[in-house]
Symmetry: C2
Subunit: 200 residues, 2 copies
């Protein structure tokens, strides 16, 4: 959506994507509240005017940055909901796709996971994040109703632990080849769905 807004005009220096990556990193490190446009301009080594060439302000930067993450996650969620098959298979598709989004949009997902609701734009972000969590919760509940998920763990907790494991990627993931990302998604799906223990 941001690319379609006519703001990306190929100005020399930073393009919109690089600008958003640096902004996301700074918001993550300092907090959105604690980061000024002056600081961002200093970090980028450009003028504030050059930033305003791309975006209307700090809120715009936050919204565009987390939308990079959220749009990716919602695209995967829509795929999962629309695919044929059992809820547990849709859930596995969602987990694998989410790992892919984390790997390819790491700074944006990292920022998304650190947003707290101190300002209106942050609260809007949290609202979208909760909407994604509701899709996960619905699939988990359906899979449990189908008898495909262990009944001895509360579905809300199952959903939290599943995405707790997925999201923990941001702590240690190092961008690598796309084929490695696929192997990572496989490993996470195996561990999450079938556990680390060899059944005896």
């Amino acid at each position: 959506m941001a690319e379609g807004s006519g703001r990306r005009r190929g100005r020399p220096g930073y393009d919109l994507e690089s600008l958003l990556q640096v902004a996301a990193k700074l918001f993550y490190e300092r907090g959105y509240d604690g980061t000024s446009m002056d600081e961002l301009a200093r970090r980028l080594g450009i003028t504030k005017a050059a930033i305003y060439h791309h975006v209307s302000g700090k809120e715009d930067l936050l919204r565009m940055s987390v939308d990079r993450a959220l749009d990716g996650l919602f695209a995967v969620a829509t795929e999962a909901e629309q695919m044929p098959g059992a809820a547990i298979d849709k859930l596995e598709h969602l987990v694998r796709g989410s790992v892919r989004v984390l790997c390819t949009r790491l700074p944006f997902v990292t920022l998304l996971l650190r947003v707290r609701g101190n300002t209106e734009v942050e609260r809007a972000v949290l609202g979208r994040r909760r909407a994604f969590d509701r899709i996960v919760a619905k699939l988990v509940a359906q899979a449990e109703a189908d008898g495909d998920l262990r009944p001895d763990v509360d579905p809300a907790m199952t959903a939290r632990l599943l995405f707790g494991m997925v999201n923990s990627l941001i702590e240690w993931y190092q961008p690598r080849r796309a084929s490695d990302d696929r192997a990572l998604a496989d490993a996470i799906a195996k561990v999450a769905f079938d556990g680390i223990r060899v059944p005896r």
Copy 2:
């Protein structure tokens, strides 16, 4: 260890534990680098002198706070290493015990997991954290050598995902009754070791 250092003299106002909890929360929110003793005094509503009654300075506050977390985790790791039985059972003991430490020392573990190595005291903290991770990695490698862990996921990744799930608690855990914490440790152990899927 801090309690034994003679600094806790029952002065009215904040005791050492409450002081450390507030400091841990502030360091977490603002970053250790970005937090001054002045700010901490303001947040506590006491004078800096009252803080220096308990601790020698900011480094002392960080070290004591994360030691609350690390001492708990190392105590559990030592228990796990010394118990009789297979490595996989020791690993499960370590996971359950770590959940208990997270639940009972939440602000300190939260801070520990956010420490970056910008200063010498932070780097020392990361060193202790890595020593804990090595204990986990050793138990995972032993359990895999015993044939008790799935061989199709790299042991280093197994260790990361396992504690990724455990540590994700800090995002949503709300302190409750101790019996609920035990149920939580059970749920996490089940999900981590045996997966969320019902075998067919």
